[in-house]
């Protein structure tokens, strides 16, 4: 949920009129604007944040880390939108009475981009990495967003519609749709195995955590594969691993599923690309 900046693989050819320039928003800014809107509406209506300070701390830590590390290791000032999304994601998804986890998670997320790399690409979704690490290592202080947002239907519908529209525009709706359908399918499997009411298995999908997860985290362009069908396959695999984790009663199953599947998919794609490149070079 952090690198939702490069949006479209193939940019549509559009006549570049001045009016269009004015009313259109740079694609890089759409996810940040959307997530900021979610934050504002969620907090003003339901008080989803325990404090603004913590969210601002996460944003500041992420952006400073990105600027400093980008300047040092890439030799340029990176665009701040990506780090902004990372910070705001951490600020929303992480819950803790303490301040330090927000700063630490922002720093860890961004630093992971510069450390955990393969063939010049970072392989983990930064905020997924940071949040998963914090949830795993600091479970006594940190939890994830799970129950805020009112549990009511209207805000959920609005976020689903807006999120879907943005994913359609970003040409990544296939990922979201595949994941949701897979989740529903696997919830039936889980019901069959556990005997729990089906609605209880579907329940997480109707919560706020998933709204952010399916629209921002699993669709991250920098850490998802390029081919559309491969994207669908990866989304299916994430849902499958999540099912396995859920059957083992892992509370943070979605984060850990993406943490496990995401890098494997990215590395596999990079490996296949390098093989193809090698083959065409020898040919």
């Amino acid at each position: 949920m952090s690198q939702q900046v490069v949006v479209s693989d193939k940019k549509p050819v559009v006549k570049d009129t001045s009016w269009r320039k004015i009313v259109s928003l740079d694609n890089r800014f759409i996810p940040p604007v959307f997530i900021t809107l979610i934050l504002l509406v969620g907090n003003l209506s339901y008080g989803i944040l325990e404090s603004w300070k913590k969210t601002l701390l996460a944003i500041a830590a992420s952006m400073i880390a990105e600027l400093v590390l980008g300047r040092i290791f890439l030799g340029k000032w990176p665009h701040p939108a990506s780090a902004y999304i990372t910070g705001i994601s951490v600020g929303i998804l992480l819950r803790s009475p303490a301040y330090w986890p927000f700063a630490l998670c922002g720093l860890t997320s961004i630093t992971s981009k510069y450390v955990l790399r393969w063939k010049g690409h970072h392989i983990w979704n930064p905020s997924n990495f940071g949040i998963s690490v914090l949830l795993f290592l600091a479970g006594d202080t940190v939890a994830s967003l799970s129950i805020q947002w009112g549990n009511f239907l209207p805000p959920m519908i609005i976020i689903w519609i807006l999120g879907s529209l943005i994913m359609l525009r970003a040409r990544r709706f296939n990922i979201t749709a595949t994941y949701v359908l897979s989740f529903l399918l696997f919830s039936l499997v889980r019901t069959w195995i556990t005997g729990n009411p089906w609605l209880s298995e579907v329940s997480p999908l109707t919560g706020p955590e998933y709204q952010l997860y399916i629209f921002f985290m699993i669709t991250d362009p920098k850490t998802t594969v390029r081919n559309k069908w491969a994207q669908c396959l990866v989304a299916f695999c994430i849902a499958f691993v999540e099912m396995i984790l859920r059957l083992n009663q892992v509370v943070y199953a979605p984060f850990y599923a993406l943490f496990l599947v995401g890098p494997i998919a990215t590395v596999t794609e990079l490996w296949l690309q390098s093989r193809r490149g090698l083959r065409s070079a020898t040919a």
Partner: protein
């Protein structure tokens, strides 16, 4: 990556440092906050100045709480629904100068107990003889809590018994028995409530009564037509029971005035208490709600105004289960302790210690949560808590009990609980959608917390080392000087567990003083009277309470610890009538009986 291997190595080290930071912080915090050493009595006295010994059986108390069996439609999650009802309240019902104990039971056909103090270290259950035992029936509901207040100012404390069912008011007939007067005073026919407290909100000298509902009063939990009884949100639920305020009209009559005076809410109230938080002379009402934000009703003497969000206490929704007031920093200001849920790896709400901000006036009072800073934040699935000076060192300590459902030790219901709790209201609100608990525990077998205040703004958990090592599903905590020794003993009511009586032994060099107040112009119970004690260059404020904690009530008597070589300057009593009464240099180490001057 443009930088060379050295820069990348430094970055890698930095990254590893980030990864191990949580582990380091966890280790350091654990060291600071918990003294887990088990000590014998003498070592505990030397190190902490007190020791608690569980001795209910020796004191003649063998009470075990039983939970209700509600409508079979709730069977799959029955342990979770029927998870409350163990309560304890302290009262001197016969005015013999010794604290007695009233304990509620909740199984259908079970009996409540009124333990009369025998003055010899033991107690005798007289509830049956007094007519306040056989009160738990399917037709009229089962007990949840009890609070005592002398509503008719006859000098004897009367009993308000809260139930999931028909609430009851028992008039105390001179300490010789009780008469049921529920119908005469106009109490509701049925409600599902867990919290009530007595206070004189309008200063007319008569005790009024607040009751906060939990489940909607429309449900008879033994005969349900629907399974849609659960909260419609885990944090924003507004489909709970209504709140009531009964204005005491005198002559044994009450008028329900909640809407009229500005109290209107259907949040799921679990705890409430009143105190003058703003120094206006009018008692404010603090309500801790489950599945939502707390509410602070500020009182202008005639009406209430809900100011939770503005004052800071009602912004972040949690699972409020306790309201206790204490001047934790000896600044002459009351802070509020609200307990919530913290379960490692699942949900970290953290308990709240709301401390008034410096510079706050009565009009603009703001609170900040200092629970983390002071070290009283994480208490598991927290329920009842009370402030009191357990070692008589001059600073208020905090006792917290906890634990929700202790069944199978090796299987947890948390995963299923968190899965449903995060879902849409249509899912969470229907008990049919909740996975069966199947004898699994939910935050069970938890260690209790006895946080010792070091007087410098830090609390250290010493529960294990001072003798508190039970792991029952604790609900209510009450403090009382049960044997008139100048120390606070602790009584803990456990759900489906025994009533625990921790006898306190305190280092003898620490001094104390106690005040037994009796109102004349004010309500006779003196509920709402505020005592400010000045000694050794410091001061502390305490108020007489008509119910605090979770389903609990401390002794009416006010107890101050003084530390060593105490020189008391004065005690200033502000009565609910507004009258100020000053006691010059009251002697330490004794109980002072004080009657409001005319």
């Amino acid at each position: 990556m443009k930088r060379g291997p050295l820069a990348r190595a430094i970055l890698a080290v930095f990254f590893i440092g980030l990864l191990i930071t949580p582990l380091v912080i966890r280790r350091v915090s654990a060291r600071k906050r918990i003294d887990a050493t088990t000590l014998d009595r003498h070592a505990s006295l030397r190190r902490h100045g007190f020791h608690l010994q569980e001795m209910s059986h020796a004191a003649g108390i063998d009470f075990v709480h039983s939970a209700p069996s509600l409508d079979p439609k709730l069977e799959r999650i029955m342990p979770q629904v029927a998870s409350m009802g163990a309560s304890v309240s302290i009262v001197d019902f016969d005015r013999d100068g010794w604290s007695d104990i009233y304990v509620t039971n909740s199984g259908e056909g079970s009996r409540n107990c009124l333990y009369r103090n025998q003055h010899d270290g033991t107690f005798k259950d007289v509830a049956g003889a007094m007519g306040v035992a056989d009160v738990n029936q399917i037709s009229t509901g089962v007990s949840m809590a009890a609070v005592w207040g002398d509503y008719d100012n006859d000098g004897y404390e009367d009993l308000l018994l809260l139930k999931w069912g028909r609430p009851e008011l028992f008039h105390n007939d001179g300490g010789h028995g009780f008469t049921r007067v529920s119908d005469q005073v106009g109490l509701p026919k049925w409600l599902n409530a867990n919290t009530a407290n007595w206070f004189d909100y309008d200063g007319d000298g008569r005790l009024d009564l607040f009751i906060g509902g939990y489940y909607s009063e429309n449900f008879d939990l033994w005969h349900l037509d629907t399974t849609r009884i659960m909260p419609d949100s885990f944090e924003y639920a507004k489909n709970g029971g209504r709140k009531y305020l009964f204005h005491n009209l005198g002559n044994g009559r009450f008028e329900e005035v909640s809407e009229k005076v500005g109290i209107s809410s259907r949040r799921w109230a679990l705890a409430s208490s009143s105190a003058d938080l703003r120094g206006t002379g009018h008692p404010d009402l603090f309500v801790a709600n489950d599945y939502g934000v707390s509410e602070l009703y500020i009182n202008d003497g005639q009406r209430f105004h809900e100011r939770g969000e503005q004052t800071g206490v009602g912004f972040a929704p949690k699972s409020g289960m306790n309201v206790a007031f204490g001047d934790v920093l000896n600044q002459g200001k009351l802070s509020v302790y609200v307990s919530n849920i913290s379960e490692e790896g699942v949900l970290i709400q953290g308990n709240n210690l709301w401390v008034p901000k410096d510079g706050s006036s009565s009009e603009t009072i703001r609170f900040e949560n200092l629970a983390r800073d002071l070290g009283v934040e994480l208490g598991g699935w927290s329920f009842g808590a009370q402030f009191g000076d357990l070692n008589n060192d001059g600073s208020l300590d905090l006792y917290l009990t906890n634990g929700y459902v202790s069944l199978d030790r090796d299987r947890s219901y948390w995963y299923d609980f968190s899965r449903v709790a995060g879902g849409n209201s249509t899912i969470i609100g229907d008990a049919r959608n909740w996975p069966a608990m199947d004898k699994r525990s939910l935050s069970g077998y938890q260690r209790k917390h006895v946080w010792l205040n070091d007087g410098a703004g830090k609390f250290v958990d010493v529960a294990q080392s001072v003798g508190v090592n039970d792991t029952y599903d604790g609900r209510a905590v009450a403090f009382a000087d049960l044997w008139n020794r100048g120390v606070l003993d602790v009584v803990v009511a456990n759900q489906r567990g025994p009533l625990l009586l921790y006898k306190n032994t305190v280092s003898p060099e620490n001094e104390w003083i106690e005040f037994e107040l009796e109102g004349t112009r004010s309500n006779r119970s003196a509920i709402g009277a505020r005592v400010t004690l000045y000694w050794n260059g410091q001061k502390q404020v305490q108020e007489v309470s008509g119910g605090s904690g979770f389903s609990a009530q401390n002794q009416r008597r006010i107890h101050f610890g003084l530390g060593k070589a105490a020189v008391i300057e004065k005690a200033v009593i502000r009565w609910p009538s507004g009258k100020l009464q000053e006691l010059d240099k009251p002697s330490p180490n004794q109980l002072h009986n004080v009657k409001e001057t005319q």
